[in-house]
Symmetry: C2
Subunit: 404 residues, 2 copies
Amino acid sequence: MNSFEKGSLTGIKVLDMTRVLSGPYCGMMLADMGADVIKLEMPGYGDDSRHYGPFRKDEEGNDVSAYFSSINRNKRSVTLNLKKPEAQEIFKRLAAGVDIVIENFRPGTMKKMGIDYDVIREINPRIIYASISGFGQNGPYAGRAAYDGIVQAMGGVMSITGPKGGKPVKVGTSIGDIIAGMFCAYGILAAYINLQKTGKGQYVDVAMLDCQVAILENAISRYLASGKIPHPTGNTHTSIFPFETFETATADIMIAAGNNSLWKKLCAVLDMPELGEDVRFAENPDRDRNHDEMFELLSERLRLRDGEEWVKLLDEAGVPCSLINTMDRVLENEQLKARSMFIDIEHPGVGTEKLIGIPIKMGDTPGSIRKAAPDLGEDTRKVLREYAGLTDSEMDALESEGVI
Amino acid sequence: MNSFEKGSLTGIKVLDMTRVLSGPYCGMMLADMGADVIKLEMPGYGDDSRHYGPFRKDEEGNDVSAYFSSINRNKRSVTLNLKKPEAQEIFKRLAAGVDIVIENFRPGTMKKMGIDYDVIREINPRIIYASISGFGQNGPYAGRAAYDGIVQAMGGVMSITGPKGGKPVKVGTSIGDIIAGMFCAYGILAAYINLQKTGKGQYVDVAMLDCQVAILENAISRYLASGKIPHPTGNTHTSIFPFETFETATADIMIAAGNNSLWKKLCAVLDMPELGEDVRFAENPDRDRNHDEMFELLSERLRLRDGEEWVKLLDEAGVPCSLINTMDRVLENEQLKARSMFIDIEHPGVGTEKLIGIPIKMGDTPGSIRKAAPDLGEDTRKVLREYAGLTDSEMDALESEGVI
């Protein structure tokens, strides 16, 4: 069962044909809020990310991908080989009864299989049909394959990320995919609100590259206004001083003294009150102009003690700061625990599994993590019986032909 | 006028009290889809980001922040000094007639002003009231100030971003703020869908820190499954080879040869077909094991020609690749142009302004950029007359008292 009475999106049905990351992330956002997300996968193989390590073993000794599990909770799995005409017919029957379709194949693939938007809207004019692709459904790059690293490089975010004066680096998490999944989920809900008003569905087309550009923020407005090309600036802030990482006796820490009062507090914690009164560093523009000198003075003192000690003292004084938390520390963070950002869930046959919680806390219809990621085809029979009206003997035949 | 007949969210009214980035980004996402977003600002000063450079001059010689303009298009501006009791009463009248309130003050501030969710829900039980904060409305860090750089460090993304073997760096764009704004916009629409079903509004609480953790993706699942702490890996992929940046005679380029066929194509473009047949590099695991050798061989050849030439040749052969585009190149990218990702708009008194387009392309009710960011208080009189029933003489008095 996948029912969830109190979710914001309970009752909304989604056919999710997506693989790996951008689409599955989008599907997860819908499922977390209560939608019934039916993941369609290739028989025998499934989502490519089922084959990405590291793995845990289930009771029968099969590999279960921790990566797959992390972004496919709350979904159901149905196997359907969409290259086969019988499967395409079944897909149409399913699409007639759902609200939303999501796919992230290369543009043109759905048309080749005869189940593109123009076909499905004839069957179900209320359908919201969303496509995520690397470069979008039109334009000179539409047919190209995309990877996260490529769109990060092409979209500009990489050119402004990296050590000061050094070479650009990509963002350590796949924001090329994730941001696209997030924008798509938002677009789907906007389309759903319009559907409730007008009774009409529509097509939603999201490109990873476009989404990278949509998060460039001040880099692009600075360039447009000044003509100066932004490059990596390390961990410094462009207009607040001090706001950067410092070495300590142990780990580096990030300190952000955003105004004069915080600057004085910082100097007091470092037991350098005279610095807080020093005219060379009195105002933010002074701290900008005399930055290197300030940085040296602060660094010299900060190197004398452990990072953790400094963070404790700075926290007590109300100076914004943090260790650069690695994953082990993130998982132990008391604030994240208080916010239920790590959820233990039972994965049948595998054991307890820790998943990242839902970052949207809603008072009345909160999101929920109701079940672990599905085994491949776990819900095939039930869903095809209910939504496509297939009998067990029909399904036996389809299974033997490799259709389901 | 702010009417937009065909937007998905046309007819939805939003009171937006947010400043700087996370909240304004959220408000922009709603406004882009057609919502009427009324930005409430402090008389005489407005959103802090109005004072962030670089600036353009308007006809009267006033500074107009390019940064502010970039994230406040499509909104209206009303001045209201919410520290004054009269302003709080006006706020309540406005809140009675809108669907959504967004704020990003430090937790507790709205309560201090007597206009927190518990008060507003009594006036308007249908209200969706969303708060974005650094750490959320509960937990031991709730009262702390947050900055983008701090939550990037605390939330883990920084620990996995940076040169291989080098120190962590923060992401060059403010994803601490932007991701929180995006999740909040999604949560608001989910709440709105529930409102249409149940007639009940609710509270939505989004923390920047939580949102950073929600995008960690495989870093956290890898750590949980393997116990190994992930560190920066530069521009390499963890499981596909080659997938990284290479030096050329000019600029560095990113190349992603995701499978054996692409590997052979890459070798052919480099005029090294023998490498494509070399058993040391035959399969992905071979290219992993003999990575350094492969990297040297490829690099040696790639350094012989310009980056742009290589990209052209690789594109023609269908090998995913890209220059690491700086902002000037991003703005000239032909695919982004074909996708309408840069929009020229007339900013009254300032001239033509280029803004980033909307990354969600909708077939029937597309988003739109209808107007430039508002001048401070540009819509005060009109909105307070319409939505709060104030007369001109009442507003004259309020203005002289610094309330509006």
